[in-house]
Amino acid sequence: MRVVVADDSVLLREGVVRLLEEAGFDVVGQAGDGDELRELVDKQTPDVAIVDIRMPPTYTDEGLQAARQLRSCHPDLGVLVLSQYVRPSYALELLEGGSQGIGYLLKDRVSDVTELADSIRRIADGGSVLDPEVVAQLVERRRSGASPIDDLTEREREVLALVAEGRSNKAIGERLFITEHTVEKHVQNILAKLDIFESAEDHRRVLAVLAFLESD
């Protein structure tokens, strides 16, 4: 799988590249800012771009803007945005343009090679990846005040979070050591309790759940 990495910190970029190469990815280019990244993607047409959110020249949200622009020019390109901070608003903004092949992860996640590789593959396959920390904050926010989430069981809440992170029923089952069929039942319960329509595609389901979590 062909990937590119954009980060202005050479130290971190080199590290991520090394990590990805070890995990069997084909890193076809590196960029230090948004402009370089766009050129690189135009030239190399990789499957996934891994982008640091804060880059020159303004060191604010160049990564986010670059991701948005890249997606409009290359709809099939997967984009994984890495951030030093947990900002649900950024994550939601990113997913607004379509959750297919989009990911938002905390930078810390790069230490878990298997997890990172898995996330990149899911993005490449058109799935969506949301950092558990972001989901936790969203759920937490939604729980303040009377909310249908309070009606969920502990297990259902766990499943809801994993759904929001963009995981498939199979992955959720593996993680919670339950069968895929049980996960399906939990999901149906959750969607019913929260009054969310079922959707066959995982990334649509993510959007629906996020939309619920975001709404007041």
Binding site: L19, E22, D108, V110, S111, V113
Partner: protein, 636 residues
Amino acid sequence: MVRGQPTGRAARSRRADRLWRPPMGPTHPEHRGVMFDAEGGVCGAVDRCSSRSSLSELVVVPEREQTVTRGRIVLALGAPAAGIAVLLVVAGEGKESTLQAILGVGIGWSFIASGLVAWTRRPENSIGRFMVLAGFVRLGAEFSTGSDDPVLFLIGHVLVVGFWIAIAYVLLVFPGGRLEGAPSRWILIGAGLLLPLRLGWLLLGGDETRNVLVTVTRSPHLARALERAEYGLVLFLGALVIAILMRRWQRASPRLRVALAPVFWAGVAGSILHVLWVADNNLGNPLGEIPMVLHDLVLAGISVGFLVGLLRARLARSAVAELVVELGEITAPGDLRDALARALRDPSLALAYWLPDDERYVDIDGRRLELPSESESRVVSIAERDGRQIAALVHDSALAEDPQLVESVCAAAALALENERLQAELRAQLQEVEASRRRIVEAGQEERRRIERDLHDGTQQRLVSVAMMLGLADTKLSSDPAAAGELVKDAKSNLSEALHELRDVSQGIHPGILTERGLPAALAELVQRVRMPIVLEMSVTERLPDRVEQAAYYFVSEALTNIVKYAHASKGHVQVERCNGVAKIRVSDDGKGGAEAVRGSGLRGLQDRVEALGGQLTIWSPRDRGTVVEAEIPCV
């Protein structure tokens, strides 16, 4: 407030060498103006363009004034006598009606009376004297119509011409009293030609009904030609005078127009009635004596117009008196300016208050104000109180013609001006405090941003990469233990880098040693880090209040940074002492000097920090002679 005249004048003479100098120093030579003090003395006057307002004209020598006053009394008594004499002679001859004679003499009297008043009120202006002269000339001119005596008749005619020349002169010099411009001069020379023309007409027997002293030869033809030439010249010169007056009116400032108006309206009325009179004569006098009476009355009125205009152009003493009353009623900011504008009859007047500490002008709200550069229309006068400058009046240049009015107004309003100056100073200080508070908040925010950036770009990145390396090592632990070992070693060195960076950042947030060991140890450490010989002299061993120690630490830190960055110095010196409850911290170097606490500089930030603690920062930084920065912070 205005002292006795002799004292006031003595003060003026003594200060004659103290010319007005712009407060910014010699860099603003374009300012000209007049300087006044509260005692009513004119300290001096500078006029870049001419020497008109030179001191000699402002100083009136008392002895001469007494003589002049006696002269005026003689003239005042002489005028009725001369007028009655003329009336008696004319009445005795019975050549013209009594009404005509009385009107003619009345014109003379009115000019003499108005002239004497003008002379008394504005002794420095020549117009009063000329009006008196014109008045006497007009008395004698009555013989031209009222006497058959060959000598008196001749004299009368000469004086008629003299009267009109005098009127033309007064019109041309009004209201300044000086003849300006070549055209005015040519008009007067041209008016002088009227005399030979009139004499020629008389000597050639132009008036066939009269006996003249000498008749050269009777030549009605030539006489008529001369008469026509005289009329033509009068019309031509009259048109020129009117043109000059029109141009002057157009160019006049509102204030000058106030002075010109009475003369103008009287002149317009006179011209209309003159035309009426001539038309009436040509039509066979259907209106009888009415046009003549009206014409003469208006002519007499013109003299009053001159007087009123002249007094308006000058001070109205009553304006100052009204001002004094108004000063008592001033409540709102801006009232004073309005009152002064009314007293000076200059609606465009602007006031600028002087802040001696900051050496700058501010408006009533304490906002910085630059004096406009002087031009044809704007002049700056400085108001003083007890020898100190308090304010600048930016006013119409027409007022420069009348420095005594500005002087009197400044003197009368000195206390009120000083009062407003203090208010303006207070507002300026308040604004400075607000600005400084804003800068402190901004500096704090900037500092937080910097710390976040330092953490984000340094420590956090390193820690992430450490986590990454450890993660990678984890995957290799069983398959490739040697590679895993290398990764762990890398992670360890990155971790110690991260710790080092973290220490620097936290040191920047608050120097730990300051809390632990106090100022002496913290400064010693600070000084050691500078790559330049710095002598540290601490006479304070006890602990100072936390915020004072902190401020002192950052002060020294910033000052040392400046020395290293900008001063090009070879050595530095840090002294800390405490006396009378004030911590004095002084940092000096032998570098190139020229440091300033301008906006955005580290020195400005230091100043804010020190002033926020009620202290003050002083900078001596002469070019090429090193820099000394001293902070005095009260230890309370």
